[in-house]
């Protein structure tokens, strides 16, 4: 579903991302690990066509994101570190707007409310202004937008940083449910524990390069941390 081939991004000769090759199949949850500046966010921004690659290609569902940016975005959903919404609108109005822009068919209000329920937001929350929402609630609205859009691939950029453990846990369960429904997930994160828990694979990045890819089922928490720290030493 998501495929990077020799994907490279340089800024003034410095490689922010160096020949990344990676594939995320439907149902896969691929977690990108690495320090700040390792190239995780750059990878996600390249898939979203927010920045132009300096080399290589990023593909969504077989389509090059630079050539068909609008078509590829039909399949994509994006959840940044902070899901930012229109503060003076209610959650429901926000969901309605972003869903309308996603090009999917128009949902009646009842169905939009159902998405709120699916992501675990209480009744009544949908009709409150977003300015009253906590971060965890906004991240869930982000998931609701992805659900309503029927996204085939999810790009997440440190979506759980700053969430309390319970909210973080709820969020990870939602991700697992989505991957269970065949959504390909690419998530940048600092949270090794969460990556091991909810990811199917992890990739460790350093200085723009993908150093190592592991299957989470095959390693323990302690191993993952050890390998991660080893890679950071380079």
């Amino acid at each position: 579903m998501l495929k990077a081939t020799d994907l490279t991004k340089t800024y003034n000769g410095v490689a922010a991302l160096d020949r990344l090759n990676l594939e995320v199949a439907p149902g896969d949850v691929f977690c990108l690990l690495g320090a700040n500046g390792a190239g995780k966010t750059t990878t996600i921004n390249l898939f979203l066509n927010f920045i132009e690659p300096s080399g290589g290609t990023a593909q969504v569902n077989g389509l090059d994101v630079t050539r068909q940016p609008l078509e590829t975005k039909r399949w994509l959903a994006y959840i940044p570190e902070q899901v930012m919404l229109y503060r003076h609108l209610t959650g429901l109005e926000n969901l309605d707007y972003f869903t309308a822009l996603s090009g999917t068919d128009h949902y009646p209000p009842d169905q939009l409310r159902a998405f709120f329920k699916q992501v675990g937001l209480q009744d009544g929350v949908a009709d409150q202004r977003v300015s009253t929402y906590s971060k965890g609630m906004r991240q869930k609205v982000g998931i609701a937008i992805a659900l309503a859009k029927q996204a085939k691939a999810l790009l997440l950029d440190e979506p759980t940083s700053g969430l309390d453990p319970k909210a973080s846990n709820e969020f990870s369960r939602l991700l697992q449910r989505l991957s269970g429904e065949g959504v390909a997930v690419l998530m940048a994160t600092h949270d090794l524990f969460r990556a091991k828990e909810s990811g199917t694979r992890v990739g460790i990045m350093n200085q723009g390069q993908l150093k190592q890819t592991l299957t989470t089922a095959e390693i323990g928490h302690a191993d993952l941390e050890r390998i991660y720290l080893e890679q950071m030493h380079d």
Partner: protein, 473 residues
């Protein structure tokens, strides 16, 4: 999708209280502007009516005197003498009535006299208030609706759209929006379209309201439509500039500074600079020189009065009563001869003035395209009938009327005729012939094109820069 964005933007805008405050403020100052303009045109109309009343009573009085058959008390104020009547007692008013849309733009109509007392005297005697200042002085003027449109409306537009895209970026919603299959251009267009709808509804609504409030007739609806077209083109130009500034991807504060700078250059600095260039390129000769030349010419003509008179008879054989020899001591006709001689001598001097004014105006017409504000102001003045072109047209009509009056009285003077009641009834009456709408349309259309081209350019450049818009970073 565009419709959805527009609807969303309306919700956003409506939730912003400052927008309502701005709109209310705009309504107040627009109405104040229309009130000012309406007061000025009403004042003009009133004065013209008073002048015509005075003229009617005066002529009726003289006519009644003629009818009564009394002997005149003075030789110089004699209602029976065509010289006295034509020269002063029977002077008539030539006036420029305010056009239907005059309440919307005072323009230069408060700089120039809008009525003259026309007699057989020389033109200089009634045109003595001739404005010798640069006619392109577009920066002055009353607080009228045109001022609101040209100077303040851009500020409202910029206040609504300086952060068109930068605000989305700063509040983090831009990335959320552009992760949808939504072209950035569509987003920008939707956002600008709603704002343009709101601003145009306000501006056009106020124009219409002001026009109706000022007693505008529906008959001059075409002028009102033309007015609205200019307002729309000028407004859209500012929206285009806001889009182009936002496309650069800088922060809201930078956009605000940049756009305020553009406003300053377009609305304040360029018109002032054009003015400066024009007045220094073609300075108007000193007025003292003009007065001096007039004096010299008069003295000279008086000194040669005998020769001047004989020349006058040669030029106008029809004025010599049949079978009579020219009388070199005919004091009355000699004064007409001297007048004509002075006018002839003054012609080249006046030509230098008028020529210089014409050169100034030509240069203004060429340089005005540098500032859309000047183009808009001129177009609005043209539509309101308060611009220079209509005034020059008026001066032409006055000129012809002056000639008409002279041709009526001078033969009577030379024939030493006596004014009868029938002669009084036949004194030519001034009638203002309005410019044709086609002429106004031609000038204003050029202005609209002069606004539409930079508007398209701004949108085009904006669309071009938008392609490399930095969504992140």
């Amino acid at each position: 999708m565009l419709g959805r964005i527009i609807r969303h933007e309306w919700t956003n805008l409506a939730a912003d209280r400052t927008v309502w405050v701005l709109a209310g403020l705009m309504a107040l100052i627009s109405l104040y502007g229309v009130y000012n303009g309406a007061t000025w045109s009403a004042f003009q109309r009133e004065n013209i009516a008073m002048a015509l009343d005075e003229e009617r009573d005066r002529l009726a009085g003289h006519r009644a005197f003629v009818e009564s058959g009394q002997e005149p008390a003075s030789r110089f104020r004699n209602p029976l003498s065509p010289d006295s009547v034509g020269g002063s007692m029977g002077r008539r008013y030539a006036y420029l009535p305010p056009a239907p849309l005059a309440p919307l733009s005072v323009g230069q109509s408060d700089l120039y006299p809008y009525y003259f007392q026309v007699s057989t005297n020389s033109k200089q005697s009634f045109l003595n208030t001739h404005e010798l200042e640069n006619p392109s002085n577009l920066l002055s003027g009353r607080f009228d609706l045109a001022f609101v449109v040209v100077y303040l409306l851009p500020l409202l537009i910029l206040a609504l759209s300086y952060d068109l895209l930068s605000s989305e970026r700063e509040q983090g919603t831009m990335a959320m929006l552009l992760s949808q299959p939504l072209p950035l251009w569509t987003l920008a267009l939707g956002k600008i379209a709603l704002r343009a709808l709101v601003v145009l509804a306000l501006a056009l609504g106020f124009s219409l309201a002001g026009y109706t409030a000022a007693g505008g007739a529906l008959a001059s609806m075409d002028a009102l439509l033309l007015w609205m077209a200019v307002v729309a083109a000028y407004s859209l130009l500012w929206f285009g500039l806001a889009v182009a500034a936002n496309a650069l991807g800088k922060g809201s504060a930078t956009n605000a500074m940049l756009l305020a700078g553009i406003w300053l250059v377009v609305v304040v600095i360029t018109p002032a600079a054009v003015n400066l260039v024009v007045t220094t390129s073609y300075p108007i000769p000193s007025r003292v020189e003009l007065v001096q030349a007039l004096r010299t010419a008069t003295e000279d003509a008086n000194a040669r009065s005998a020769e001047v008179l004989s020349q006058y008879y040669t030029d106008h054989p029809e004025y010599l009563p049949e079978g009579e020899q020219p009388d070199p001591n005919d004091f009355t006709l000699r004064s007409y001869a001297v007048r004509e001689d002075v006018e002839r001598a003054m012609a080249p001097v006046l030509e230098r003035y008028d020529g210089q004014l014409l050169r100034q105006q030509t240069l203004v017409n060429r340089l005005k395209w540098l500032s859309p504000a000047v183009v808009a102001q001129e177009a609005l003045n043209d539509i309101a009938g308060t611009g220079l072109a209509r005034y020059q047209h008026f001066l032409g009509v006055v000129d012809r009327y002056h000639d008409e009056l002279r041709s009526y009285f001078i033969p009577k003077v030379s024939a030493r005729a006596t004014m009868t009641t029938a002669d009084y009834d036949a004194i030519p009456v001034f009638e203002y012939q309005e410019e044709s709408f086609g002429e106004i349309l031609g000038r204003v259309s050029a202005g609209i094109v002069g606004l539409a081209l930079p508007m398209l350019l701004a949108f085009g450049v904006g669309a071009r820069i938008l392609r490399s818009y930095p969504v992140v970073g």
